[in-house]
């Protein structure tokens, strides 16, 4: 199978169906590009070069244009990530309520800093702008669930409770 054929066959029928449904919301296909990447990322964790090409082909965008969007948005992952993504709010309300202590605990506990993934592939830690949870500061989001306010020990227990 040529590389071109391989790339064309990468997306599942389910993914293509979901992408097409999203594309139908817009008068141009490029408007659905980010949505398409998110559909694929949700299933596969991150967007490899081959997946980017596959999505670009399906959506009908130049790969470079789609990659410009993909690399602009901080929540489209173009590199491998862990099984769980820990977003630590680093904006002002969380900062003044002790977000640095959570960040330090993560570094100590997981041995990784911002932008890094644990050696066992379980967690990726990323700083994130204001999560819109300033009344629950300091807050973190693990995968798609918001948690806060958190002490360091509560964060520890939360990490323990995540499935492997």
């Amino acid at each position: 199978m040529s590389r071109d054929e391989k790339i064309r066959s990468m997306l599942t029928e389910e993914e293509k169906g979901m992408i097409d449904e999203e594309l139908s919301h817009y008068p141009t296909t490029r408007a659905g590009g980010i949505e398409a990447l998110k559909i694929v990322q949700r299933r596969r964790g991150w967007i490899s070069d081959d997946l980017l090409l596959a999505v670009a082909h399906h959506v009908g965008m130049a790969p470079a244009e789609l990659d410009r969007s993909a690399t602009f948005y901080n929540l489209i992952f173009r590199r491998p990530i862990g099984r769980h993504v820990v977003l630590v709010c680093d904006s002002v309300s969380c900062w003044l309520m002790g977000a640095d202590r959570l960040r330090d605990r993560l570094r100590h506990r997981l041995g990784v800093g911002a932008g890094e993934t644990t050696a066992d592939g379980r967690f990726t830690v990323l700083p994130n702008v204001c999560l819109g949870a300033c009344d629950r500061a300091p807050a973190v989001m693990i995968d798609e669930t918001l948690h806060g306010p958190l002490t360091e020990d509560e964060l520890d227990r939360l990490l323990d409770s995540q499935m492997p």
Binding site: R30, L37, N74, S91, L131, G132
Partner: protein, 432 residues
């Protein structure tokens, strides 16, 4: 309906949002039914104009006036679009989340009203990625509304049709800027557009478009239900309606409350947020999110409305206040803010792209004990060079508002950092 809290009176703080039938039992969608059978789009525009509703996203532009720029009539370009800005990402802001999660049907009813007023046939709700529960709640409510004939083709037999889509973003603060948001929706590089032309005339895909904040739209159902005069009387001062106010920081009860617009900061801080936590004293606050200028103790009795806060060099912004306490370093506070703005600059225009990182670096130097005497003057110069009129959009000018006011109110703290070559709030020997 809870008359003094029309936006939030039906929200259950710890329960699911009202379903369509629960909402209808409380009078929900009655305004839309009346509107579709008895009002022309011009009637709706006039009522909203009379209500003196001003945009709740930060700029405070009168909503009725915004709508009046949209071409109407048979010759108007088609389709027209309504875009709801639910990309709440300004540091310190968490008010729209309450409305999105707590009462999506009210938002949908507001969307129908706004779309009808400008005769838009398609609406997008642009929601930030992090608001997963909001997206789920909205999706469910849209389905319910569609099944009842409140959305879709020929609403309730009125001849007016409206489709609503939810668009979830993937991060980046600049997407909340009105014209950058339009580029984001179209799948183009997310940078602000040059104005004019304004979106009302040439917006999404070059068609007439209104971009409106969530809270603004949620006000429309009760304006139609009770009338413009009733709405105007909800406010305490010159402005009309209620406002979602919020407080975060070292207060006893951080949170968000719906209060008459024009309530004083003191009342919000002391009565609703419960005052400062034990062991912390109030030093200053940003009244309306990370891009608004600091205000101090002297300003606490001011009304939290558009004109009162502008008159002292700040802004109502989103109405979500962040409190600076006496045990937090103001230089560190501003450094955190400018890190955010520098990181989130889209890079399109030079003052913002190059100026903000420079500002952040100077503040980091000062905070870390490496500040030079001339640094404050360089910061002052940036306040001018990145100010209004120098950039494509309000991102850099917004970033300069807290810096400008910090240099004014906390000047001695900046000087002390530079003179002592250390941050007085950090214990000896520790570094940020």
């Amino acid at each position: 309906m809870n008359d003094d809290r029309p936006l939030t009176g039906q929200i259950r703080r710890h329960g699911p949002p009202p379903t369509l039938s629960e909402y209808e039992d409380c009078g929900g969608y009655a305004p839309v039914r009346t509107m579709l059978s008895h009002m022309t789009p011009e009637d709706v525009q006039q009522e909203v104009m009379n209500s003196n509703l001003r945009g709740r996203g930060g700029a405070g532009f009168p909503t009725g006036q915004k709508w009046s720029f949209v071409p109407m009539g048979a010759d108007a370009p088609r389709p027209k679009y309504l875009v709801v800005n639910a990309d709440e990402m300004e540091p310190g802001s968490f008010k729209d989340r309450l409305l999105l999660e707590g009462h999506p049907h009210r938002l949908i009813e507001g969307i129908i009203i706004a779309a009808y007023a400008i005769q838009a046939e398609c609406a997008y709700v642009f929601v930030r990625w992090a608001y997963h529960p909001s997206v789920i709640a909205l999706g469910r409510a849209i389905r319910e509304a569609r099944e009842t004939g409140l959305l879709g083709h020929n609403l309730l037999g009125s001849g007016f049709s409206l489709t609503v889509h939810v668009h979830t973003s993937a991060g980046r603060y600049i997407c909340g800027e009105e014209t950058a948001l339009l580029n984001a929706l179209e799948g183009h590089p997310v940078i602000p557009r040059s104005k004019p032309p304004y979106p009302q005339v040439c917006g999404l895909w070059g068609k007439p478009t209104i971009v409106q904040n969530v809270e603004t739209v949620c006000n429309l159902p009760h304006i139609l239900a009770h009338g413009a005069k009733w709405f105007r009387n909800l406010g305490k001062g010159k402005d009309a309606g209620t406002k979602l106010y919020a407080v975060s920081g070292r207060v006893k009860q951080p949170g968000v409350w719906e209060l008459p617009i024009g309530t004083s900061m003191r009342e919000i801080l002391e009565h609703h947020a419960g005052g400062m936590q034990e062991g912390y004293a109030f030093r200053a606050m940003q009244p309306g999110g990370g891009s608004t200028g600091f205000l101090t103790e002297d300003h606490l009795d001011l009304a939290m409305d558009f004109d009162s806060l502008s008159s002292v060099g700040s802004r109502l912004g989103t109405g979500t206040a962040i409190v600076l306490d006496d045990r937090t370093c103001p230089v560190g506070f501003v450094r955190n803010l400018e890190h955010f703005f520098a990181q989130e600059s889209c890079g399109w225009c030079t003052p913002c792209r190059d100026g903000l990182p420079w500002v952040e670096r100077l503040l980091a130097d000062i905070d870390n004990g490496n500040g030079r005497p001339q640094d404050v003057e360089i910061l002052e110069r940036h306040v001018t060079l990145l100010g209004p009129g120098r950039t494509y959009c309000a991102h850099a000018p917004g970033a300069m508002e807290p810096l400008k006011s910090a240099l004014r109110y906390f000047r001695s703290d900046f000087d002390r950092h530079i003179h002592d070559q250390r941050c007085p709030w950090k214990s000896q020997g520790t570094e940020a």
